[in-house]
């Protein structure tokens, strides 16, 4: 272990071929993932692509000697933050697809121009910096990466660390304040609720969704005896989102087809009997 450490400690201008191979392959994937993040119509797909990109970045952290950060990236970022994203995506509506058609006049052109200019300038700046050699983290990580970071965090950056702690608490409280809804009316008592139920329109439980023996999904309204769908049978949230599938016409068509087929069969049977 000591020999490669010493090797790494010396200034180098090239990394190993393995790392180069890894960089080119995973880098390509990361860029594709990033592009997919911004181009996918559904937010959930974007989130998954982003998660992939982040995992690749975690591998790059590890390759760059940032072992602690690599793990944290996977555990905190990909594991916690991205799951939080997915959670919110689910809350907002997982199936809702965004239109990628631009509505603000000239927005896309300006964005493209600025992005291109920015990228070109950034790359030109990096290219201009003449970074041909690098030190490597061999010496810095000599006592272990986590120990090294801990030393810095609790000595040099202790105040920043404390402040980020305060920041986290503040943001947690802030999130609670933002999502908390104040009750504006008095809570109904149990008596009131029971009276409401008994005196309301529906004494028995609401009819169940689905069409008997054909569809039992919650987003399909049950059919009334005359073949029309009943709104009451489906969840209010789904109704609000307009995610109800109407199968009334489908069922009637199916019924007709069934009757026709049975007639044909009966006919064939009669011919066979003759």
């Amino acid at each position: 272990m000591s020999a490669p450490t010493e090797l790494l400690a010396a200034a180098a201008s090239h990394t190993s071929t393995g790392e180069a191979f890894q960089f080119w392959v995973l880098g390509t994937v990361a860029v594709i993932g990033a592009l997919c993040t911004i181009l996918m119509k559904k937010a959930v797909h974007s989130a998954l692509c982003l998660a992939g990109t982040m995992i690749i970045l975690a591998i790059f952290y590890l390759a760059n000697g940032a072992y602690f950060l690599g793990i944290v990236q996977i555990v905190v970022y990909t594991g916690a933050i991205m799951m939080l994203f997915l959670f919110v995506v689910m809350l907002v509506g997982v199936t809702a697809a965004d239109s990628l058609k631009e509505t603000i006049k000239g927005q896309r052109w300006w964005a493209a121009a600025c992005g291109l200019g920015f990228g070109v300038l950034l790359i030109a700046g990096i290219g201009n910096a003449s970074l041909t050699t690098f030190t490597g983290l061999g010496a810095a990580n000599a006592n272990g990466n986590v120990e090294g970071l801990a030393t810095l965090i609790f000595t040099k950056y202790v105040f920043a660390f404390e402040i980020t702690g305060a920041l986290l608490i503040t943001s947690a409280v802030g999130a609670m304040v933002l999502t908390h809804r104040e009750r504006t009316e008095r809570a109904k008592t149990q008596r009131e609720m029971s009276e409401e139920r008994v005196r309301g329109k529906h004494l028995p439980p609401l009819p169940a969704p689905g069409v008997y023996a054909r569809h039992n999904a919650v987003d399909i309204a049950g059919l009334l005896p005359d073949g029309t769908p009943s709104e009451l049978t489906v969840n209010q949230t789904l109704r609000g989102r307009g995610q109800i599938r109407d199968v009334s016409s489908e069922a009637i068509a199916d019924l007709k087809a069934l009757e026709q087929r049975s007639e044909e069969r009966l006919g064939r049977d009669e011919e066979a009997v003759k």
Binding site: Q107, C114, G115, G117
Partner: protein, 648 residues
């Protein structure tokens, strides 16, 4: 004894305060109170005069510091009085003539329901005028100067229900403001130059100031004098000021206030002596006004306006005399005093005539009144003889001295001035004879004439009390009116002799104004003879024109000069065309400039900002993503700039 000086002013001031604040309950006794206090002031003046005579010529000046008015570091304004021979002359004239006119007014204003207010104003005038002549510094003089202006305004517009009177009052006030501006500027220049307003400092240190400063002060003082004394070019108000009651015309617009300009120039003699160029201007102003007023006086049919023209002309004489410097100061004041007597007498006579003629002022509707108003005729006649300079009467002594002084100026200037003053004497004789003949001699033209209705301009409303009869019944005025006229007639006859014989007045005033005989190119008796010849020519012409031929009831069209003179030599037209029209054009062009340029710039700026904002507003479309693009674009620009700076 010095404490009496303050009392001199306090008496009429008290009268004014009591009469103006006292209200209607003083209506019955108000005129007596006013007259009494004016008389008290005269008595105090007389006591002070006797006291002054008891001292030698060099110790006659008395000063009295009353209190510090505006005590600020570097700006000390005091209320203090200075009573010297010059002030004393004025005090006696003001209080004497003033008291007589108070007495006269008791009768003249008998039927006016606002008589108490009238006496309040008269007392206010006396107080202000006394303050003007007694002040020991220019700032306090200015207070008096404004005070007499205010009193003049109030009294000209006393019958303010008449639009003509109200307009005349405003006109007098406005024209006087122009002159007052001159005085205030002069005082400011004095303060910046000498650091003080006191006569002693300003006049004592004149030599130390630059000639530019002295010229400025002199010209501004002259402007002030022109405004107050109705000298060209600020003369236009005096004719209209005759809208006021006749006693007012006699006291303010003949005897006292209009002579304040002469007092101012004489008092500031040291400044004028230091700048001969300004003196030349003063002389020119005086000479022009002398002829101007005389010509106007010849053409007027309104007896009071004819006398007003005469007043202007006589003050022109005085101003001319003051412009001559030490040669003329004494004679200017002497003429001022004698003029105060005879012109006040003439005005009171005119008032008496109007009183008896249902307030008719048109001389063409008079005639042959000597039989009906003997006292008025005699006193008016003595005033007439005095003003034309009939040998032996006061006008003869004072005017003759001014003509002599004009010649004594020397050189071409002296000859021109002498000729002008002689011409003025001739015209004076002409127009005064015209007034005299038209009023008291000839046919009784009023007999079949209708009197003017009361609402006609120029007719005093007292006519209402007489009733508008078809035919006036001329009658002699009551005693309260005739006695002051008689007293003034005595003054007109004897004052000149008392002053002139033995050079008494010269000796009296010399310590204050200084005196210089000058070097006259012509002998004294030659001038006197020439004056008498001019006088005879003027009288002869007038008698030939108005005495021998019947006077037409309606004024003939007359020559161009006559018509111009009837219109006050186009002074109002000149003012209208040059000042009013000019002002209007200036205002209009300023308004245009304001609308087009100033408003254009302002509105243009606003419109362009508004237009730009309207366009910029579109950037503010509410879409966070648009803002993000702006931010990102800004970041791009900053990076580009950073890289560029590094590259450079």
């Amino acid at each position: 004894m010095e404490n009496l000086i303050a009392l001199l002013i306090a008496a009429p001031l008290l009268g004014a305060a009591v009469l103006l604040c006292g209200g209607r309950r003083l209506d019955k006794a108000g005129h007596w109170l006013g007259t009494l206090l004016a008389g008290a002031s005269f008595v105090i003046g007389a006591v002070l005069f006797v006291d002054m005579l008891g001292r030698s010529a060099d110790h006659r000046t008395v000063t009295k510091h009353l209190f510090s008015w505006i005590p600020v570091e570097g700006f000390q304004a005091n209320v203090g009085f200075q009573l010297d021979q010059l002030s004393m002359t004025f005090v006696l004239l003001i209080t004497g003539v003033g008291t007589l006119i108070h007495i006269y007014s008791i009768g003249y204003m008998e039927h006016d329901e606002n008589r108490r207010r009238f006496f309040g104003y008269l007392n206010l005038f006396l107080a202000a005028m006394l303050l003007l002549v007694l002040a020991d510094n220019y700032l306090l003089l200015y207070v008096g100067w404004e005070g007499v202006g205010l009193a003049s305004y109030l009294l000209i517009g006393f019958w303010q229900h008449k639009p003509s009177a109200a307009t005349a009052a405003k006109k007098a006030f406005l024209v006087n403001r122009v002159g007052d501006m001159g005085l205030s500027i002069a005082i400011m220049v004095m303060f910046t130059t000498f650091g003080s307003f006191a006569f002693s400092t300003v006049l004592g240190e004149t030599g130390g100031a630059s000639s530019g400063r002295n010229t400025a002060i002199g010209l501004m003082l002259l402007l002030a004098a022109c405004g107050k004394s109705a000298q060209v070019p600020l003369q236009s108000w005096l004719g209209d000021a005759m809208e006021g009651p006749t006693p007012v015309s006699a006291l303010i617009h003949a005897a006292t206030m209009v002579t304040a300009g002469v007092y101012l120039i004489t008092r500031s003699g040291a400044i004028f002596n230091a700048v001969p160029d300004v003196q030349t201007v003063v002389v020119i102003v005086g000479a022009v006004t002398l002829l101007f007023g005389a010509i106007v006086g010849c053409a007027k049919d309104d007896i009071k306006k004819a006398l007003a023209g005469s007043t202007m002309s006589q003050i022109g004489y005085m101003v001319l005399a003051t412009g001559l410097g030490p040669i003329g100061y004494v004679f200017a004041i002497m003429h001022l005093v004698t003029h105060g007597f005879f012109k006040a007498g003439l005005f009171l006579g005119a008032g008496s005539v109007m009183h008896g003629m249902n307030d008719e002022v048109d001389m063409r509707k008079y005639g042959g009144l000597r039989k009906y108003m003997p006292v008025t005729f005699v006193t008016f006649g003595l005033g007439y003889l005095a003003i034309i300079g009939f040998p032996g009467l006061s006008g003869f002594f004072s005017k003759d001295k001014i003509i002599e002084a004009a010649f004594a100026k020397g050189g071409t200037e002296g000859w021109i001035l002498g000729a002008v003053t002689l011409l003025g004497a001739a015209i004076t004789a002409y127009y005064m004879t015209r007034v005299m003949v038209m009023t008291f001699f000839g046919e009784e033209r009023w007999k079949h004439a209708k009197t003017a209705s009361p609402d006609q301009p120029g007719v005093e409303p007292a006519a209402e009390t007489h009733g508008a009869h078809d035919e006036p019944h001329p009658h002699e005025s009551p005693k309260s009116m005739t006695i002051p006229m008689i007293v003034l007639a005595f003054g007109s006859v004897f004052a000149g002799g008392i002053f002139g014989i033995g050079d008494r007045f010269v000796k009296w005033l010399e310590p204050v104004t200084s005196f210089d005989h000058g070097n006259s190119p012509v002998a004294e008796w030659t001038v006197t003879a020439a004056t008498i010849v001019c006088l005879l020519i003027g009288v002869g012409l007038a008698v030939a024109q108005y005495g021998r031929k019947p006077v037409p009831a309606v004024a003939p069209r007359g020559s161009l000069l006559t018509r111009a003179a009837r219109r006050d030599l186009l002074q109002d037209d000149f003012n209208h065309v040059v000042l009013v029209r000019g002002g209007e054009h200036l205002t209009r062009s300023l308004v245009y400039l304001d609308h087009s340029l100033v408003d254009g710039v302002v509105n243009g700026t606003a419109a362009s900002v508004g237009g730009l904002s309207g366009r910029l507003r579109k950037l503010q479309n509410g879409f966070a993503r648009s803002y993000a693009v702006s931010m990102f674009g800004g970041a791009v620009v900053i990076i580009a700039a950073t890289l560029l700076m590094r590259a450079v």
